[in-house]
Symmetry: D2
Subunit: 406 residues, 4 copies
């Protein structure tokens, strides 16, 4: 096989905000012979997964699973519910919100963008105001990103729901949870979301290649009349076939093996524990960044992401801003760690530390030590002590019972 890892020794630290480090249990679960997707054993697998997956989305409604990566699930959310020329109200929270908007335009929808602050989340009041102004109900859907992967800023989805309701507007609520599902607390039913979009390669700890639409009854009703052309992405045949544990066309069997294992792992740990674990690591990361004297991109503490932290590069000795990609290159070359790049208008300006998925305290400490050493080697101005601050944070929040004083 192609030798991929050119680094001489040890395990690569994949600390981009997804794809995340796939745990051994999942890789091995996927390493089994493919079976007949129309046979009784597959049916058993399909029923198991479909019985578990809703718990991850906190929903009792159908969850459609695609043999496709996350971008496809964005498309599926739009083409199943909307008709050509329909207006979708979207919210510019960062690069991925922008990409989703561009996709809507390509799919012959009319998108409208609110907001322009890549350092804050959705302002629900703006959505409410816009919807109140739309007395003719031209807007058919509101589409927002729960956790903006490009910025490390989350948005308050429950507040968006309340805004729509307060405006008395019938628009559907579509939410991208690609980098939050399975990491941050997310409640499809309680928050009244109509379509939740998700992917396999972040909190679900799988390789990329599966994606999801959790759908409300209102969304299903909308799909009956929605006119955008669709076949591969059409919910109806999938939901119908799922009743028996099957899919209408060939599913990605081996990734489903992995999904079955991922569901077991998350439910064994307990979703509340999973969420708490992510928040704890995010807090330690922020303590570290602050101790370095560097700026966290997200400007609203209430909107900090538990999944990743984007860090703003400081101005260097020469008065010019240090380049994030040069730093990332030093870190990759010296410490065998991949960090997330700044995307779009954040290019060079920020780097992103992923702390989501199958992750624990010591991997976080290795990660932060790698960044701190990289700052030194790359000559980026900062204060020492970030790693020490993160250790203090983790010590304070350690959950295991300490042994008797030694």
């Amino acid at each position: 096989m192609l030798k991929l890892n050119s680094h001489p020794s040890g395990r690569h630290f994949l600390q981009i905000p997804g794809p995340t480090n796939v745990p051994d249990r999942i890789l091995r679960a996927m390493d089994y012979p493919t079976i007949d997707h129309r046979g009784p054993e597959f049916q058993q697998l399909g029923k198991k997964i479909l019985g578990q997956i809703g718990k991850i989305f906190q929903t009792e409604q159908p969850v459609v699973i695609y043999p496709a990566s996350g971008t496809g699930a964005w498309e599926a959310a739009l083409v199943n519910t909307l008709s050509p020329g329909d207006t979708v109200l979207m919210y510019e929270t960062g690069h991925f919100a922008t990409l989703w908007k561009k996709m809507a335009d390509k799919l012959s929808l009319k998108s409208e963008f609110l907001g322009d602050d890549w350092r804050r989340g959705v302002d629900a009041a703006k959505i409410e105001a816009r919807l109140r102004a739309d007395s003719g109900h031209v807007i058919k859907a509101v589409a927002v990103v729960h956790n903006e992967t490009s910025t490390g800023v989350t948005s308050d989805i429950a507040a968006v729901r309340r805004a729509i309701d307060a405006a008395g507007h019938p628009a559907l609520l579509l939410v991208d949870t690609i980098s939050s599902l399975g990491s941050l607390d997310y409640r499809h039913d309680e928050w009244g979301v109509d379509v939740t979009v998700a992917g396999s390669q972040k909190g679900l700890m799988l390789p990329p290649g599966l994606s999801f639409n959790a759908v409300s009854q209102k969304a299903i009703a909308a799909s009956k009349t929605a006119k955008l052309a669709r076949a591969f992405w059409a919910w109806d045949e999938i939901i119908e076939a799922n009743k028996n544990g099957f899919w209408p066309y060939t599913p990605a069997t081996n990734l489903l093996y992995g999904l079955s294992e991922a569901c077991d792992m998350l439910l064994e740990e307990g979703m509340q524990n999973v969420f708490a674990r992510h928040q704890r690591h995010a807090e330690a990361t922020r303590q570290c960044v602050r101790a370095w004297g560097l700026e966290i991109l997200c400007q609203n503490e209430a909107e900090y992401s538990g999944a990743l932290t984007a860090v703003v590069m400081p101005v260097g000795a020469g008065g010019e801003r240090c380049n994030a990609d040069a730093l990332r290159k030093v870190i990759l070359a010296n410490f065998n760690m991949s960090l997330g790049q700044g995307l779009n208008k954040l290019s060079g300006w920020v780097f992103r530390i992923g702390h989501l998925g199958d992750f624990n305290d010591l991997t976080l400490m290795g990660t932060l030590a790698g960044v701190e050493m990289g700052l030194v080697l790359a000559g980026v101005p900062h204060k020492a002590g970030g790693v020490a601050a993160a250790m203090q944070s983790l010590q304070q929040s350690a959950v295991a019972v300490a042994a008797q004083p030694a």
Copy 2:
């Protein structure tokens, strides 16, 4: 992990016509940590695969790889080249040709079906006649299936190309090779195909989850003006990003690891050897079926599939046709082998033996013995001797040099 195999011992014989038996080399190649899909190691992987994959399609043109299963590549072929209301001339060779037609209709195209014989391949003369009659060039594309997975009948794609040319018609030629690519000789460039549709889970020996469009320059030109809405499936961004070995959105990294290995395996064996191997096993299978006194569904010897053989159930003692699904159930329960069911109007009437992918003589003999024993146990009238006929066929065509007489 979910225990999938309820059978007490030994390896399952997955002899449906795909997904095929995934070889150990490929499963293990996929069982590696996911890497950063924007980093230098991924780039090396991307360039390697993109440099090899054309050899499998026998093309120098771009091959677009989707992180999606084969049905998606059908959709991609249509939405990249056509506009709403465009007419597509299709040819009813079986269940999958029919499904592709239904998809065209769902995607707001106007499909037209020639032919109705599920026991024969495409009659190129009919296509030529229809195209000659279309003096206004209303027909924008001709779409046919190279190897109809539901029937085990192939079609002569070069003849279809000649028919289009003879009619002097500008329609694009779209070809489904989902169950032939990597098993049967297929020549994207030489046969003048504009879009070749393929999937990972048959001759490429991978699990499902990747699919392909090999595209001609004419197809790319058509995509510039084609009006069907598209985003996930759009060729342009993918072809552009591929120049550097990357993809515009997250690719299915671990399946690409497997694809890299699959390309190595096929090219090591040599494509001509791969094709010859499939024809040899298909011939032995047909000798076996004939010796049983059973009928091969395909009625034209020139169109026999080298990838699978569909067998027609005989009439039983009571004067009623024996049921293929009852036979398949007996074989699965007794001999731990999955065979392909009859699809659509062939349901119960035929069963299908897959002999494609990672396959060899003794696995074929186990397969055929399982069918012969199943015929006995299920009380299906037949003559003994099929397995013996297959052995005779394999002996005669054995390629390894025999040792000196013992």
Copy 3:
């Protein structure tokens, strides 16, 4: 990694009488990170295995597990129970009995060989006679092979026990079950065996690298005074450490992962079902050999092995005996199957078909078809019809309920 399989396609048929085909479940169970062999997780693993392994030996007594291959367990049986110069009564049933005898001599024991027929098992009457003659109890142990891997002949261990008892002799009974444990019915306690020697790579379906001594209380008592020097093989420290689930020195952790899975698989299937499956496949194999008109090496039906069948090569057209190794070479080259060679004085004269371990009907049929085609290609005189006879045998003994007549 070194590319080991030079064959172009499909799965190798490993039909030597061990190592056997390792099932995917076991290979994947072994593909996990090694853990601390002194930590709590290992302890859990150790206790689980030690709680299950006795059921395979049908014993309530300790089973000592070595991080070493089977030959080591032969040595362990001798050095734990005997003193330099002690006499061991052994029985020449084939190549492995002979090797064990040579080992005894190397270890400064005095071995004595009864029997000389490699086509029959142990004659318990000879043992009884010899022991009766040993009124001074010079003989300290009787050592026999349960299933002689070189010949496919089993011996009646219960009869040997009765012979020892009838002679009123205190000798220990040592039994090699390397190629029978987990395949043939074997009862350490009921048959009064003092040391049972076993290995991982046959009925236990593991790669080689683990071996076993199941020990009686009488054997343990003997070990207290036995004077042969020993350290690595010494039972006492292992049995002591096993009480807590540990081993005194580093165990072969990953092979133990596999053993844990193997125990689960065998106990899930049920030992009686495992034994019946082996007998059924052995019977079909013999029907096949007889139909070829070839001779089975084993001359006593009551002693046929359920694990392997050794076949005698016929005399060829030229009046000379055909060579088994030439045949095996033809089969390996043409059909990607490994068969067992004739060992020692059987070299060239017999070949051996392994039908043990993780095995099923269709793999057996592929195996026998490979031999039948090989006989043709190698020009070995035989009658056709062996495969047909095996199919008939398997049909008659098929255990799954047949579906209703189709």
Copy 4:
């Protein structure tokens, strides 16, 4: 399979001084079907490994590979070269030297112990003096441990060789390199070692289950007359069979797959780079320990181990020495990391940090952070700043070229 990891998330840090973290490449290389150990593919594997393994030992002489764990290779070194009652001069450097001595006694040798300092290595002058006094050449072998795994102290093997030569004594030199081979510079030929003992589960990065004797011609000559009983461990048959790439009895095939990969990995990295990497990580670890104000067990800087560091527990507030096992328990429970315990008379008094095998900077930093946080949680008196000191050390010795200042 038995779920071994009870920890909720992320990868376990296995930082005992062996078994070490097995890299994915090796685990996957082992996850292949077992092959016929008498067939041509195995032969290719055997020859490859036997052609590479000497480079790891820096020898041109035979290296005997056992399908057994390391303790067995200790036994092999003794039983192949010595006769009952022979005197072996050994040197008490720690727990493992002591165990080897006990083994010698069990094997009916007469062992003599020099030294008694578990904080220093071998004093070659004492060996020279003792050998000079042995004018009758009663001493047949000198046996020392290169890297004492229980203490983190190395010994100067070249000096031992010089001592033997200076005394003009014919004794063989036997050296245990179980925790140094493949991590620390070790030269079997140049240092005139007669038998080098090694195991698979440390610097070779494999699971336990293989062990080694590299042997000199003098050792082979000794084996011709050595009288200790041996069979499984006997060199002669193995060396003879190895000439053709085979082994006389069933080898541990799948562990050999792993060994083949391990040799490739070490030789690709380059042995000098491997040694330098280990020294660099050891130096950073010691800087860390010193910054904590804790004592390194090894008292002679020239004898520091590059493979592990044993740390002495300080006296706590109450005037009693803090307990190392309580600390290790806190660290395992809170940070999912296994550290080495104090063995024998060091029990409770020291803990050991393994920094050998497949290891890199960030895994080291995670490791040291886990210890530092554990010291806090367990209430062990220490100074903060250890992790910071280690980062400084690694920064200074970073080998990759830094990018241009950001």
